[in-house]
Point group: C2
Chain length 412, copies 2
């Protein structure tokens, strides 16, 4: 259990600006002797440092310990059909450097991977971080995936991608050990990792980008499911026999509330002329810009745009009710750039659905809150896969989790 | 960790008809010395026994160990608005004695509890089991509930029940420590407990009685949710703005596929005369009998009855797709008396929905299987709450689970 104790202590240090050995023993439930031994090892490894002394109340003065944020780093890549974000994260969870790459959904996977690798290598080169301090690369991908084999299958929003062995390709191209996870699950893990006590209970993370993802975090664990594809909030069926979805089913939430679907619905209801009035191109290549335009129009008070957003928000609320009835979470965290400007409507709709109608509404209120990390939660989450895999207690050790670097596609 | 090792070894003995110490060490990963120590303690406590010797292949002959099923017992009660079942379960999971009680949904909770207590006491008295060997009473209730306080809240199918402190009332009336859980969650736990390797992976348990419940078992854990109300499969929204549900929401699965709902739909489509032709009374007090009648008519080939069952099965399939997309389970287990005679249709519909349309269908096939325990899985599950709480490793120790007897409403 040495590794476990070490991870518990490191996590307790990470959660505090500075802390004494005695406080660590209290916080972790370990004996003073065990804490002392573990602390000595962590000091030797350079993961923590002594940073002064606590004020004395008589007796021996206590030395304070803190994390050395520059002791280890990880790269996180959030692969999105539209725009891919890469971040370099230090051990404290701070984004040291960021890079945004235009991802064309028409790209050949191998060429896209080469582009990503160039981006990652440039991100590292332009930072002052030595490669020896890099623990690895986490990549967050849209589902579905074959996690055990490190393969992206047929993601609905990446039509040219079929069974791409992404961890292997990226490992070869960057020379880094690569771990992969579903994008919304990675975001949820990042949110927990960064969120400390505010994210310690169970929550559902709802991510809106080109599609709609979900990450399920029961208290103190992560629900990945049997094949690593749990949390597909965008594929909650909200209308039986309804709109056809990329995934092959009908009536999925995504086919009603994802940007492309809301825009298509807007065009079908109001026609091209009305879309042009709001400067929407309705071209599939311009979904991201059009979606920004529609949200802007709603913010400015355009009635049709507001109604379109309200319809999407209502569908999100309906799916949230179903999900809360199944998972009984107390918190829904909202993240993703595509929610900018419509947070309030989505918040209101979800709040109304889950607290007005959920089966356990008499026992608890469900909060709906924005992500603590913000826009790049997918990329930060991807990097945190590496860091928590290496350093966070409980996760891979108790959950049979395979995110520890080196398990998947490791090439040092 | 002594208690944990003890539970691991006991569980390994329980899963085998007879086993040697060496095999136990192999099965548990514990050292031979630890296994020997734990085995000695379990023998002293009378939980296991030596039952002969393994055939010798040269060298020392190995003594074989097996469980003493009569070492400990638990009572399980499945409180159902219609018919309540109580079982006496031995340590091996065998039902030693069973008792069925007519539960009127109009009953005052206190009087109903007195009736249950009389039933439980009679069940114990008529068996040869000494009270000292009884570990406690597990009670499985329809949701929603306040698990921390042992309270049944406002179960949709028990209209006279409002915030009933069931564990306290039952504890006082029987003199036994009482643990409580959601009925479908208890059934799922019983299914895992009894199912051994066949139920070791993750699964969703779907229970159909008066209502429709669900129990969520990710691999090696149970998902209870923040307030103990996870798994409400019957309250997956299948039709936005649809039929009003007992729970206060609209369009829940239960309002389409529970027996009362299917019967109401049948009456609305075909009228009273057609119902009478099939000998359906359509009286709310006769839902159980009418539902039996409708299933019998479907089995005999009545077209309208078949269509009614098919519609319900289709709704169950739709809700299963949503649930599988969220949870990514590889197995759905079907249980409950209300499914008798229509298993095939439900199986077919669920299979079609989840394997034809789920987002991860390329990576894995989802099986749909009947419960290994059969009809009384709710009551057996309730009793297993007590036994696994006392003896099964991992559950309450790693999950912060409170089902260990004595935690809730304990009165020895």
């Amino acid at each position: 259990m040495g590794g476990y104790n070490r991870a518990v202590v490191l996590d307790a240090v990470r959660g505090r600006s500075s802390v004494s050995r005695v406080e660590l023993a209290q916080a972790t439930g370990l004996t003073n002797q065990t804490v002392s031994n573990v602390v000595r090892r962590l000091l030797d490894e350079g993961l923590i440092q002594e940073t002064g002394q606590a004020p004395s109340h008589g007796g021996k003065r206590r030395k304070l310990l803190s994390l050395r944020p520059d002791a280890a780093y990880a790269v996180g890549v959030h692969l999105d059909p539209d725009t891919t974000v890469a971040v370099l994260l230090d051990l404290s969870g701070r984004v040291v450097r960021r890079r945004t790459m235009r991802t064309s959904s028409q790209s050949d996977p191998e060429r896209l991977v080469r582009m990503l690798a160039r981006g990652v290598n440039a991100l590292i080169a332009k930072s002052d971080v030595e490669r020896s301090r890099l623990l690895g690369l986490g990549v967050a991908v849209p589902g579905p995936m074959d996690r055990a084999r490190g393969m992206v299958l047929d993601p609905p929003n990446l039509p040219d991608w079929h069974h791409v062995h992404l961890t292997e390709l990226l490992g070869r191209a960057t020379g880094l050990p690569v771990v992969m996870d579903n994008d919304a699950t990675a975001a949820a893990i990042g949110e927990r990792w960064a969120g400390g006590a505010d994210r310690a209970g169970g929550f559902l993370f709802v991510y809106m980008g080109a599609g709609i993802g979900g990450g399920i975090m029961p208290a103190d664990s992560v629900l990945r499911g049997d094949s690593g594809n749990a949390g597909e909030f965008g594929h909650v069926v909200v209308e039986p026999g309804g709109n056809e979805c990329h995934c092959g089913a009908r009536g999925c939430l995504e086919a009603y509330a994802a940007p492309y679907a809301v825009l298509a619905d807007f065009a079908a209801r109001h026609g091209r002329a009305e879309a042009e009035r709001l400067c929407l191109t309705l071209s599939p290549e311009q979904t991201r810009a059009d979606w920004r335009g529609l949200r802007a129009a709603a913010t400015k008070g355009d009635r049709h745009a507001i109604e379109a957003v309200e319809r999407a928000a209502d569908r999100l609320g309906q799916a949230a009710l179903t999900t809360v009835n199944l998972l009984d979470v107390r918190l829904i965290v909202l993240g993703g750039e595509a929610l900018h400007g419509i947070e309030e409507q989505v918040h209101r709709a979800m709040h109304t659905w889950v607290n007005g109608r959920s089966i356990a509404r008499a026992v608890r209120t469900v909060s709906v809150e924005p992500s603590l990390i913000g826009d790049h939660v997918g990329a930060v989450g991807a990097a945190s896969l590496v860091l928590h895999g290496a350093y966070t207690p409980g996760w891979h050790m108790l959950q049979g989790d395979q995110t520890a670097p080196g398990h998947v596609g490791a090439r040092r």
